[in-house]
């Protein structure tokens, strides 16, 4: 035991350099997914120091933390996350942080009950992919602006202005996306994807959404699922199915092979961004660009 203590103490001495004081007195916000990082950066502008935990292309269910996240979370004035179990066990941690005086906000809590899609079998379980409804995202942006003003009143004007600008942009995006989707007749609006991420999108834009894999990543698509969906595709003459950036392509390719073997041709219409945005430098690295890209990919492939 003495040895252990000696080693601990020795290493502490070596490792303890005086904590680097960041002269940065900016309001610091830690965010989880890339969608949330983008949202907070947009509304906060220069007034907020935003530190995103998850990078592009990361599956939020399976995120592995790095040591730097500890200091990020320690130094945060406010933590903003998606909630509804999107971030797995992290959600429990964030919920409990409120008890020890660290302010956390779950974006899922901003939505009214009827804006959230529930699991069919278990009422207490919700679909966490709330960002695929622009309506929801507008509600969230509005409420988040209010929350930021409450937490950091000094920068009220910045948040108000950026929030209003962003709402206008989201409304423009909504119009643009609706016009684009109008190009598709209602009977062609069938979206077949790798996993159940697009229910909100389907609800808002009248798409019938079919996910090959359930929400959980532990189960894989069953043989029967593939059969059922491939019959469905043939019956409805669906022209394209889609892969997702954060889910393996394999099952979707199996589905394509199954459909093609029955004499109906279905193509893979492209890769959709589901649980994470693209690289920050790309067009798909922000919410609006991602949404536009997804809609264009879907509409062009199904036309």
């Amino acid at each position: 035991m003495k040895k252990i203590i000696a080693i601990v103490v020795a290493i502490c001495f070596v490792a303890c350099k005086p904590a680097e004081k960041t002269n940065n007195l900016k309001f610091t916000v830690v965010t989880t997914t890339t969608m949330i990082t983008d949202l907070v950066k947009t509304i906060g502008g220069d007034a907020i120091e935003v530190k995103g935990i998850m990078g592009a292309g990361v599956d939020p269910h399976l995120y592995k933390a790095s040591e730097g996240d500890v200091s990020k979370l320690t130094s945060a004035d406010l933590i903003i996350y998606n909630g509804l179990h999107l971030e797995g066990k992290l959600v429990d941690v964030f919920e409990k942080m409120n008890q020890v005086g660290k302010k956390t906000i779950a974006l899922g809590d901003f939505l009214a009950h009827e804006q959230i899609i529930n699991s069919e079998a278990f009422a207490s379980s919700h679909d966490p992919h709330i960002w695929f409804s622009i309506q929801n995202w507008k509600t969230i942006a509005t409420k988040l602006t209010e929350a930021l003003i409450k937490e950091n009143p000094e920068n009220k004007l910045v948040y108000q202005k950026n929030g209003a600008d962003y709402l206008a942009k989201l409304t423009a995006l909504e119009t643009e996306v609706k016009t684009k989707i109008e190009e598709l007749p209602v009977e062609k609006r069938i979206l077949v994807t790798a996993h159940d991420a697009f229910s909100y999108f389907g609800k808002e834009f009248d798409f019938e959404v079919v996910g090959l894999q359930g929400l959980s990543t532990a189960t894989e698509a069953g043989v029967k699922d593939v059969q059922r969906i491939s019959d469905f595709i043939i019956e409805n003459k669906v022209r394209a199915i889609f892969v997702e950036s954060s889910v393996p392509k394999r099952t979707v390719e199996a589905l394509q092979a199954s459909v093609n073997s029955k004499g109906h041709t279905v193509v893979i219409g492209g890769e959709l961004f589901s649980d994470a945005l693209g690289n920050p430098s790309d067009e798909m690295g922000n919410y609006i660009g991602m949404f536009r890209y997804n809609v264009n990919t879907i509409v062009n492939a199904l036309k």
Partner: protein
């Protein structure tokens, strides 16, 4: 160093000790992979817990996971006890079946719920300091610190109480039975403790590091000592050492804490494997080299003993007669000379009385193949020990 960082290191050290203790016994019993098996086999427990509570965050899910973990080790122990299959096969029989039951339950009943081991159980040590236990509004410290502390206290108490029984049951189950206590009871007890520790540690620090903490320290120290008490103490120390060193490497690299510690443990094992005094690679390699030279010397001595004529015993012609390189010939000659087995006069080699005795014994060993002779040779003439 912030409080959070200190707490992470304390949690890691406690988990390292809590895993190393049962780990030693698991490695000795050839059941090291049971911790990995448990990480899969607890899925049906979690699923059933969810069906009962309908809440992914309920503690009942962890309780059910622990029970399923115990069920896993009981089944493994039972199958292994039949003697029909080996230890690893018993593990391999149990955990895929249990995992599949969980997968089928999800696919049939809960396809639209995010239900898996990652989401429910597996923790991340980086976030452990933020999950605190509040009692009457007072901050009592991280929850996982309390949980793993309790598990550790219980397992150390059990270890001290049943140390003798554990020792005998692990090394000699037959003797244990004849001494009047049942090794089966001890085995089930040990496996239950291992299972509870594993599930508790999963909740605190995640799966892969728990497997590493269970196996690597015990396996490394096993190369250094066969003494059970020393194995337990040093394995625990090695685990703690790796945790703290790994943590700070992760800090400077901004990398995954669990991943870095597991890597450090792997490197430590590699070092031990290379440099262990007796079972290590370098020491083994050196021993084999020594043996080769010893055998060469024996051949040389037999040659000298068999030849009266000086022509055959001349130093400068030796290598032609026995077909050696001059380098090996010189080495053998030096070794024999150092051990007073031969004398060289006028370039002619003769055996000393000691050399003659050695050769005689060796010849009689070769002809009647009795090990007693060999042991005698080894003890009296073990060349490299003077």
């Amino acid at each position: 160093m912030t409080n959070a960082q200190l707490e992470i290191q304390i949690i890691l050290s406690l988990v390292a000790v809590a895993c190393a203790l049962p780990g030693v016994f698991l490695v000795l019993r050839k059941m090291a992979l049971i911790s990995d098996a448990i990480s899969h086999s607890i899925l049906p427990g979690i699923v059933l817990g969810f069906f009962i509570t309908q809440d992914l965050a309920s503690p009942l899910l962890i309780v059910m996971a622990t029970l399923t973990g115990v069920l896993t080790v009981v089944l493994v122990e039972y199958i292994q006890k039949t003697g029909l299959v080996k230890e690893d096969t018993a593990i391999g029989l149990v955990f895929p079946s249990m995992f599949s039951i969980g997968v089928i339950l999800i696919a049939r009943n809960a396809g639209d719920v995010h239900l898996d081991v990652d989401a429910v159980l597996l923790g991340e040590v980086a976030f452990a300091p933020f999950d605190r236990w509040m009692y009457n509004g007072i901050d009592m410290g991280p929850k996982s610190l309390w949980m793993i502390g309790t598990i550790l206290t219980v397992s150390i108490s059990l270890l001290i109480l049943f140390f003798k029984e554990l020792k005998v049951a692990t090394f000699d189950a037959g003797l244990a039975a004849s001494l009047g206590f049942t090794p089966i009871g001890i085995h089930y007890g040990l496996m239950t403790v291992s299972s509870v520790t594993t599930v508790g540690a999963f909740d605190a620090i995640g799966a892969i590091l728990v497997v590493a903490f269970m196996i690597v320290p015990a396996a490394s120290i096993y190369l250094l000592t066969n003494n059970l008490k020393k194995m337990l103490v040093y394995s625990a120390l090695l685990g703690v050492f790796a945790s703290i060193v790994g943590y700070w490497i992760a800090h400077f690299l901004d990398a995954s804490i669990a991943g870095t510690i597991a890597t450090v443990l792997g490197l430590l094992f590699f070092m031990v494997y290379l440099f262990a005094p007796d079972k290590g690679y370098i020491s083994q390699w050196y021993k084999i080299k020594q043996q080769k030279t010893e055998v060469a010397m024996l051949v040389f001595m037999l040659h000298i003993a068999n030849h009266e004529e000086e022509q055959e015993r001349n130093v400068n012609h030796l290598q032609e007669h026995i077909n050696w390189t001059s380098q090996l010939a010189r080495k053998v000659l030096r070794l024999a000379n150092q051990n007073n087995m031969i004398v060289i006069k006028n370039d002619v080699v003769s055996l000393t009385p000691k050399g003659a005795e050695f050769t005689n014994k060796a010849v009689s060993y070769i002809s009647d193949n009795k090990n007693a002779e060999l042991e005698g040779i080894k003890q009296n003439f073990f060349l490299f020990r003077g």
